[in-house]
């Protein structure tokens, strides 16, 4: 086994060269054109292009009006992050739940409930933020554990348990708040949602006369570094896969995809640099996304969750403790719902009985638009995030168009249906 280990480990500079030459071979060995590859992996790229197309659509339609609005203005991009952070954060947990073959309908109510608890603790009982936040996360974990217990160990369908949870925690939210709104919060709690990363790097860079107003250097540099990192990590994974004879994207598609993503990142960084910099929620979101992508794709725990969703009985007979893992996915979901609940509450600067209403649907829709299978066993974090952004961009764009909530719901519903139909069609083809 030792030799095996070495070949697969990190590529030295010399080996990189070998990988490079083999790329060409891999391509011809695959013998497939870029178009054919795209066609077979339509789903993966379809979502990315759908997101791109939706953004461009709103840019065009809002920009061409009589009194044009810049859809991609720094303010609006910042807004997009602030508005969608909690959906994305919950989508990370929901992906795990759905991959494991379950569903969680209670996340909206749980978010509202923990938001209310946070308000109670900080505003009414004057708890400091550093104590209230972990306490709320613990409450979320407890709620997740309570629901997960019935689902995992008593085999009660998750749909039923979390439907009950949805009602119970909405009711408890009303009870805690007694029908009032509790707020406002002290600034350190508000920063959960409205904070920005200070421009630490900007301080080190001397004023440049070329700029009318100094941009937020941190935002720009972080975006450029992230873009480079994505390309480098992609290249390494690609050459490793080639080395092991896996099918990889054709060269052209690889570069096109990565350059589009990198360019989009730098563009967003540039725009954010022109406003108040990187919102802290964007940072927590990005960190969580990377962690969850890593857990799902590269750890034994992640692999086991896919296995129980793919074939529960086979997973059990392979020595996987399916009950405990199912339980843990719900605990995890509870924690993320609590985090999202606090962010929403901080953003509204008040805990309200109606907070989080319908969130579960946005979150679940994001995961399914992102390509997860209803029956479990498949779906990716990247997909769920793109799915969440598709929903978020549509929400934001339609509101800016001045569309009524009625039309918005109809269109969102149809987009969800279309995405899943597209999935099924692709699969049956």
């Amino acid at each position: 086994m030792a030799d095996v280990n070495n070949t697969g480990a990190h590529l030295g500079p010399g080996e990189r060269g070998v990988g490079g030459t083999r790329e060409g071979e891999g391509l011809s060995a695959n013998g497939r054109s870029g178009a054919a590859y795209l066609k077979d992996n339509l789903r993966e790229y379809g979502m990315l292009f759908a997101l791109l197309a939706i953004v461009l659509f709103f840019v065009a339609i809002l920009g061409l009006r009589e009194n044009p609005i810049d859809f991609l203005s720094p303010t609006n991009i910042t807004n997009l992050f602030l508005q969608n952070s909690y959906v994305i954060i919950m989508a990370l947990g929901m992906l795990l739940v759905i991959v494991a073959g379950h569903i969680d309908l209670s996340v909206g109510s749980v978010a509202a409930f923990t938001g209310a608890v946070a308000a109670l603790l900080t505003v009414e009982y004057d708890w400091p933020v550093y104590a209230a936040v972990p306490a709320c996360l613990a409450v979320g974990a407890l709620i997740g554990a309570a629901q997960g217990y019935w689902i995992a160990y008593w085999r009660i369908p998750s749909f039923i348990v979390t439907l009950a949870g949805m009602l119970v925690f909405r009711g408890l939210t009303l009870w805690i708040l007694g029908g009032r709104n509790i707020g406002p919060f002290e600034p350190s709690f508000q920063a959960l949602s409205n904070g920005f990363v200070p421009d630490v790097l900007g301080a080190a860079i001397p004023d440049l006369a070329a700029f009318e107003r100094q941009p937020n250097w941190t935002a720009l540099i972080v975006a450029i570094v992230a873009a480079l990192a994505i390309v480098v990590i992609g290249l390494r994974a690609r050459s490793r896969n080639l080395q092991h004879g896996m099918e990889v994207e054709p060269n052209g598609i690889f570069w096109a995809r990565n350059l589009i993503i990198a360019a989009a990142l730098v563009f967003v960084g540039w725009k954010l640099a022109g406003f108040r910099g990187i919102p802290t929620v964007a940072v927590s979101m990005a960190v969580l996304a990377v962690i969850y992508a890593f857990v799902t794709e590269s750890t034994t725990i992640g692999r086991r969750i896919y296995a129980i969703g793919g074939n529960l009985k086979a997973a059990r007979l392979s020595g996987i403790n399916a009950d405990r893992l199912t339980f843990l996915t719900f605990v995890n979901m509870g924690v993320l719902a609590a985090l999202a609940g606090m962010i929403v509450t901080a953003r509204l600067n008040s805990a309200t009985p109606k907070a989080g209403t319908g969130f579960e649907l946005d979150v679940i829709a994001a995961v399914f638009i992102g390509g997860a299978s209803m029956s479990g066993g498949s779906g990716r974090i990247v997909g769920a995030i793109i799915g969440a952004f598709i929903m978020g961009v549509m929400n934001n764009g339609m509101s800016m168009l001045g569309m009524g909530i009625d039309y918005q719901q109809v269109i969102k519903g149809l987009v969800l249906l279309a995405a899943v139909i597209f999935d099924v069609y692709n699969k049956n083809k």
Partner: protein, 520 residues
């Protein structure tokens, strides 16, 4: 004799694969026609072309049915023409009654209101025809697989079938049920029903078939006629695999060593019938380098025994002791059983064994993820190397290890499943029907592998419904009936007759016990 069905020059290509290459088959009115071929030879594809699953235009060649050219656009068309396929996986609704299943989608109804009287009367007639003595109102889920098979045939007959196609009809049946089914086929033939039977069991083919078409690698190899005395098992096998198979079972020098695993006083209750023990005080042992067989009819409790030992995966209120290598071990959960050096290879590889949507590489590593990871982080390079190594060692025939398991043939799937459990480095393997539903060539390879495992000093327990296979492979055979071990035979003394007589004796004893209980 007139020709009922003629498929001429049928070719069908999938991207990158030529599944059928100019296949020709001719079925005469009123005959039983067998189609034989290894898994992956193209039998299923051919049947899908015939039934319209692959519609007219998606293949080359001509189908003539009952005198005219058939251009089926879907199953509906072929069924309307009188062609009915009964698949290996039965398509019955367990919670509905026999009558409801038979007329499902074809209800005896007036203006949408079901005419139950006619439904039940017709059902009774059909059940009589297939020799099934059950009330039409019995839920199908309450019937055994053999009887469900008969319901399927009754359902086919209800549709005025002209050509009945049975895909591996006896694969899941025990010996007596298989015999009954074959008798029924012969009887239906006497009544003028034409049928095609696809089967791996060559003794059955020899028994019922008038003619046999052998397919290999997507092409017709030969057409053998029973009435010309051309059908023999050796001949069919030769045509199927393209070479002579001198021995069905590979040779092995038998050198059993010391006792490796010992099970004592094993008892368990059925999860739904908790009133008495389903597994009754079972004791057995396996030696190093030994292949031990477990013979018994379906329902005798063989799978239940294996699964209850393997991490209590079946049963309630399980008692008994297991020792491996002279030390008592805890096998109360699957991870503990695996750690103790025990592995169980399920009989139902699709439902219990594999994750069909996942590639080979992920299936092979599943039972031993720590073996391909460090600190909980997967080392994909190592994982791929492991899978690639097993692909070579087990001769899994795929271009690479990234193929989804659902696209593999039965034999290859079985090898993936075996690889998965071998990667846990077991000392004792319990193989439950390891050759079910796989072709002759793959069977031979599995047998070879079992010998290799024994030669490495492991203990192998083989559960099988096919007695010749047990007799050909095992050093010792335990006979199981009614949840108990009722006899133990050495390779030298074992025979099909002896095994059957042990089973029959136990059945009679149990019947007597039950009668006495009923009267007392």
């Amino acid at each position: 004799m007139t020709v009922l069905l003629e498929m001429q020059g049928i070719s069908k290509t999938f991207p990158g694969v030529r599944a059928l290459d100019n296949v020709t088959i001719q079925v005469r009115e009123g005959e039983i026609h067998a189609i034989c071929g290894e898994n992956g030879a193209g039998k299923s594809t051919l049947m899908k072309v015939l039934s319209g699953v692959y519609p007219h235009g998606s293949y080359d060649g001509v189908i003539r049915f009952a005198g005219s050219e058939a251009r089926f656009r879907g199953i509906h068309d072929s069924e309307a023409a009188g062609i009915v396929i009964i698949h290996q996986e039965l398509a019955l609704v367990p919670l509905l009654s026999i009558a409801e299943n038979i007329f499902l989608g074809n209800e005896r109804a007036a203006a949408g209101v079901i005419d139950w009287r006619t439904t039940y009367r017709r059902t009774s007639e059909l059940l009589a025809k297939v020799g099934l003595r059950e009330a039409p109102t019995t839920p199908v889920g309450d019937l055994g697989v053999g009887k469900q098979q008969l319901v399927e045939i009754a359902k086919a007959l209800s549709k005025n079938v002209r050509l009945l196609i049975l895909d591996e009809p006896t694969a899941a049946l025990q010996e007596t049920d298989s015999q009954k089914l074959l008798d029924l086929l012969l009887e239906l033939k006497a009544q003028g029903v034409t049928s095609i039977i696809i089967s791996h069991k060559l003794n059955e083919v020899r028994r019922v078939a008038d003619r046999v078409t052998v397919i290999r690698d997507g092409a017709t190899v030969s057409m053998l006629d029973a009435h010309a005395g051309e059908i023999s098992e050796d001949r069919i096998v030769r045509d199927m695999v393209g070479r002579d198979m001198a021995h069905r079972y590979p040779d092995r020098v038998r050198r059993p060593g010391e006792v490796l695993m010992e099970v004592k006083g094993w008892k368990a209750k059925h999860p739904e019938h908790m009133d008495r023990d389903f597994l009754r005080d079972i004791g057995f042992n396996v030696r190093k380098g030994e292949i031990v067989g477990v013979a018994g009819l379906m329902g005798s409790g063989r799978t239940e025994l294996a699964m209850s030992i393997f991490g209590r995966s079946w049963g309630r209120d399980i008692r008994g002791r297991v020792a491996i290598g002279g030390r008592e071990v805890d096998v109360s959960t699957v991870p503990k059983a695996l750690r103790s050096g025990l592995a169980y290879v399920t009989e139902d590889r699709k439902a219990l064994g594999l994750i069909l949507e996942e590639p080979i590489v992920r299936n092979v590593s599943l039972a031993n993820l720590p073996g391909v990871s460090r600190g909980g982080v997967l080392d994909e390079a190592r994982e791929q190397a492991v899978a690639t190594r097993y692909r070579a060692a087990m001769n899994i025939r795929t271009p690479n290890v990234f193929q989804k398991v659902m696209n593999l043939s039965g034999g290859n799937q079985q090898k993936v499943l075996l690889s998965k459990l071998l990667f846990t480095e077991p000392q004792v393997l319990i193989l439950d029907e390891p050759t079910r539903g796989i072709d002759v060539g793959a069977k031979f390879e599995i047998y070879g592998l079992m010998n290799r495992l024994a030669d490495e000093g492991r203990g192998v327990v083989m559960i099988s419904s096919e007695m010749p296979e047990l007799l050909g492979m095992c050093d010792r055979i335990y006979v199981m009936a009614e949840g108990a071990f009722v006899g133990e035979l050495t390779a030298a003394e074992a025979s099909q007759e002896k095994i059957m007589s042990l089973i029959v004796r136990e059945h009679e004893k149990q019947e007597q016990v039950e009668m006495e209980a009923a009267h007392g």
